[in-house]
Amino acid sequence: MVVVFFVTHQLGDPARLMLRPEATEEQVQALRASLGLDAPLPVQFGRYVADLLRGDFGDSIWQRVPALPIVLDRVPATLYLAGFTLLVAIPLAVALGVVSAVKPRSLADRVVTVVALAGVSTADFWLGLMLILVFAVQLGWLPTSGFGGVPFVILPAAALAVRPIGRVSQVVRSAMLDELGKGYVTTARAKGLGERVVVFFHTIKNASIPIVTMMGDEAAALLNGAVVIETLFGWPGVGILLIQAIERRDLPLIEAAVITIAVMIVTVNLLVDLAYTLIDPRVRYG
């Protein structure tokens, strides 16, 4: 029930987003009538959802073919980049957070905190530029831009990973600190279990709900960063397509790209909700 409620909410958002540009843009006055945007809001919404369900966004003005297939062609590239980023970011963030939580206020904790804050404070595209400068231009180890195998994905993924690493590691730290103060941890230690067993088998499972929530948020936010990073690295994903569509004022293509991103975010949220039921049996009966 909760999941369905969540999904419908998420799907309403892009519809509202789409109505805003159409309602204020004079250029699309003519388009407006043909798109049925003079109808009352609920009717528009109904049609919109109906169109959405059929996957009909109209033809791209720029490429003169249906917009949705163009966008869907780009989805795997974005997923590849985002997946690779998360693959790097999540283990690293959890490790940093655990190191930080096990010895609060130690030197290691302070260093991790500052590193995490620096990660959150870095403009991802600037980091991308710096990485290009060092590893592609100066050292010549990796390609500056383009699409391909692992060498191509390393730099954009590194630029994208810094922010989630900062955010997630902070959440891991506070969640672990909360759990480490609880009674069952004392019990586990009293049984003579090693600290590693306590941390990695007892505590981390109980701390994982807020961690997974934050991971979901950050996975969704990756699509934010992907727009900029894909543009910077010439990565043929949905993000760069959206920017190109905006530059060409290609409304159907913009719509298709935004809806596709929204659907991707909904899917991430769905996965997070499903993950809750795996982690915490109480959610299943709640």
Partner: protein, 327 residues
Amino acid sequence: MSGLGRLARSAAAGAPTPAAAPLPPRPKGFRLYLRALSSDKLAFAAALFLGLLLVAAVFAGVVAPHDPEAGGLMLRNQPPLTAAQDGGVPYLLGTDQLGRDELSRLLYGARISLAVGVVSVLLSGTFGVLVGLVAGYYRGVVDDVIMRLVDLQMGFPSLLTALVVLYVLGAGVWKVIFVLAVTRWMIYARVSRGLVLSHREDVFVEAAQAMGSSDRRILFRHILPNLLSPILVLATLEVATMILTEASLSFLGLGIRPPQSSWGLMLAEGRGYVTTAWWLVTFPGLAILLTALSLNLLANWARAVTDPVTRWRYLQPKRARAAFDQA
């Protein structure tokens, strides 16, 4: 401070019997924060940096060594520390693709970047807090509608929202500020609503109601002051977010446009010279990083100091803190 007093206080801090030692008088108001700031080196450095940056941005006309618009093709892409031809101040951070002094442009760019960050936070914060107050205090349908809107917008990345809205509005400083405010108001609404919910059942609200205070008086005189410190912490973090988002938007060509300049736009302009002029892409990004990092550090510090549970740590001498950390 006498050695005895310090000893007494460290005993009070280390042992769970605070009644054993008489507590020295606590500093209040501004001096409290000044003292708490001096005990945290990172926060102090952050505050210092932000203060200097603010002064440099406001008085950019006096501080900047060169005219940010004056260039010359002969001076194109000179590396940092190049001597000026007229024997004036050297180009400390080099010159850009039009021969303009990079440092002076950074200082003038700081004006726009900081103004965009601060003004958009003021706008979105004021609106969001008002909405959150109303939603949390009156509950009911108003609350349901507002929070549903908040949930809708929270579900979608704010940079993408900003991109789509700017696509309609076009670029420009005020448009960027407006769009940033529109994309982030719900953060404040959600936080302040949650806080109002926890305060509206408090005894002081009940007392005010019993004395016949109007709703408006209760909201603004009794509840709002209790929200200020968490909201201020949030706003500090948000200024950093806004500066970063503005940089991204300008980099994508949908934010600030020439002749105005911001750090993000400088990065966008320098991007074409990655291979030939590293300083053009390095320094504006460093400025963004240092500013956002300082804001984050300051917010972290402010969160701890405004919370009475954690505040005392920042008012103790070093030794007492060390004793506590080991316990």
